[in-house]
């Protein structure tokens, strides 16, 4: 085998061609033919594998294709990107929208709590999320799932979302589950390209333009809180929410991950999240964990509070409590 190889000193001295293409200028043996065929196949396979990189996909503009990661955008870049996205929204949905990227309020750490003694599973929060966050109307996408749970069990894996009867049922309780904005988010660790990260106020966000849609984060999340955009969202023009955040509720492209962002385009301006305002039972409490006299801290100090899947060490900033 070694003797047959073309690395023998006299051959190297013979011609430089051997250095570039070791199969050229060789005796036409069966072995050479096989080598040639193998090399050609290998090259072809490699070419095929990287072919997506040679052309920009049809539905992606050059600007979008060349866009940097959100954290690397200068203010000037951002303005250009936001203008482009606004124009795209106008083009695709006929809606005049404003895209901004409100920054975390210094010193604020968001916390959210749900009173399971109050929640009756009517699902108004899911609908509000759908409307506020420009979700795909075709599948009524929402960042929230309300689970109907049997009393006596806290195992969210046994909850059902398909209940279709008058609520609340006597032997059930209702537990809305959305992104828990973990202190130690497994989804962020799972992302191979840092398209998702935790901001200073605790909100885990996604750069929808950087995401490649591999869905590792979806698999990593123990709360099933991440969503994948299987389709380009369908939203009637008059239902598009024009108040949009780059990292929150702007209309997402097809094929990327998204998740609850505590309505950061609202909450970073001091407003309550849409699901809280929609809750007809008053079960939701939102506020700043760093403010000692905030509503959320009163709940944490005075109610029986638990977090979902505490044993996983994700340390959610999302809490559940009971009245008595």
């Amino acid at each position: 085998m070694i003797a047959d190889d073309n690395s023998s000193p006299e051959r190297q001295a013979d011609t430089d061609k051997d250095w570039f293409l070791p199969v050229v200028d060789q005796p036409s043996t069966r072995r050479t033919a096989l080598k040639t065929a193998g090399a050609a196949l290998g090259l072809a396979a490699f070419g095929k594998a990287i072919s997506p990189l040679w052309s920009i996909p049809e539905n992606v503009s050059v600007d979008e294709f060349l866009q940097q990661h959100y954290k690397e955008l200068s203010d000037n870049d951002k303005q250009k990107v936001f203008q482009r996205l606004e124009a795209e929204a106008k083009d695709a949905y006929g809606a005049e929208v404003t895209i901004s990227d409100p920054k975390p309020i210094p010193g604020v750490r968001f916390g959210y709590a749900i009173n399971l003694s109050k929640c009756n599973g009517n699902g108004a929060c899911m609908e509000a999320c759908n409307r506020e966050n420009n979700h795909h109307r075709g599948v009524d996408q929402s960042y929230i799932r309300v689970l109907e749970m049997s009393k006596g069990s806290m195992d969210m894996e046994h909850g059902t979302t398909t209940y279709d009867h008058t609520v609340p049922q006597d032997d059930k309780f209702y537990m809305p589950v959305q992104c828990q904005q973990c202190e130690n988010p497994p989804c962020v660790s799972a992302c191979p390209i840092e398209a998702t990260w935790q901001e200073d106020d605790g909100i885990v966000v996604v750069d929808y333009n950087w995401c490649i849609g591999c869905r590792y984060c979806e698999a990593a999340c123990p709360y099933h809180a991440r969503r994948f955009n299987w389709e380009q969202p369908e939203i009637p023009t008059d239902e598009v929410n024009p108040d949009q955040g780059y990292l929150s509720n702007r209309i997402r492209p097809q094929g990327v991950m998204e998740k609850c962002h505590f309505c950061l385009h609202r909450t970073r301006e001091g407003r309550a999240p849409a699901c809280l305002e929609a809750c007809s039972t008053g079960a939701r409490v939102f506020g700043d964990l760093n403010a000692p006299d905030s509503d959320i801290n009163w709940v944490l100090k005075n109610k029986r509070v638990f977090v979902l899947k505490e044993e996983l060490g994700t340390q959610p900033n999302f809490f559940y409590f009971f009245d008595s």
Binding site: V167, W230, A272, E277, S280, G282, V285
Partner: protein, 208 residues
């Protein structure tokens, strides 16, 4: 020895309790009562106001008659009740054989005159007999529902709209009777109206 320890424990407990009471008092002082916050935003604090929805005044009773233009004829409570002496034997709606028969009543063992003021039917009465106006009805509810009221004052009951951060904007909150029918206060049963079509639950909409 034992008595010293017990005394120490008791004094500790008492001090602890006293401290707790002080806390709640100071909370009550710094946080204006909900009925008082409606009128004016606080001037001294830079914070925006928390306003609480209030009933306009005493309710009007539907007589079942129609005006010439088709609208309902409604009358004030005192229209009838000034001429009729209060009957303390009428405890619930079932006891009423002339009016208010259609009212649903399911509110523990309280009777009509536990809350309605027999001396002025256009107002309500507290447990000590003192008069309270309909717009201040929460004062009446809070007499019995203290834990709920406490949770309410800390935003953990009743919901809100507006700003979580009062330095940036105002907040509005519901009144007790916005969500609870005072005659049958249990929160009504509801029918879920919105269901995400989770891809795990249904046939895929498209072929991939």
């Amino acid at each position: 020895m034992l008595t010293t320890v017990t005394a120490a424990a008791i004094s500790y407990l008492l001090l602890g309790n006293g401290h707790g009471a002080d806390d709640s008092l100071s909370t009550a002082r710094t946080e204006p009562r909900p009925s008082e916050t409606t009128d004016l935003p606080s001037v001294v604090s830079p914070k925006f106001a928390v306003s609480i929805r209030k009933p306009q005044g005493p309710p009007r009773v539907i007589t079942g008659l129609k005006n010439a233009d088709g609208t309902e004829v409604t009358i004030a409570c005192v229209t009838c009740h000034t001429t009729r002496p209060p009957n303390h034997n009428n405890r619930t709606v079932k006891d009423l054989d002339e009016f208010h028969g259609g009212t649903v009543f399911s509110h523990g063992s309280v009777s009509c005159l536990s809350c309605h003021n027999e001396r002025d039917y256009d107002t309500l009465r507290l447990a000590d007999g003192s008069r309270v106006e309909f717009p201040d009805v929460m004062k009446l509810c809070a007499q019995c529902h203290g834990p709920q009221m406490k949770a309410y004052e800390h935003g953990a009951h009743g919901g809100m709209n507006g700003y979580w951060d009062l330095t940036r904007g105002p907040r509005t909150k519901n009144n007790c009777i916005d969500c609870h029918n005072p005659h049958a206060p249990q929160f009504p049963k509801m029918r879920p109206t919105f269901k995400p079509k989770d891809r795990f639950l249904e046939q895929p909409r498209t072929k991939h």
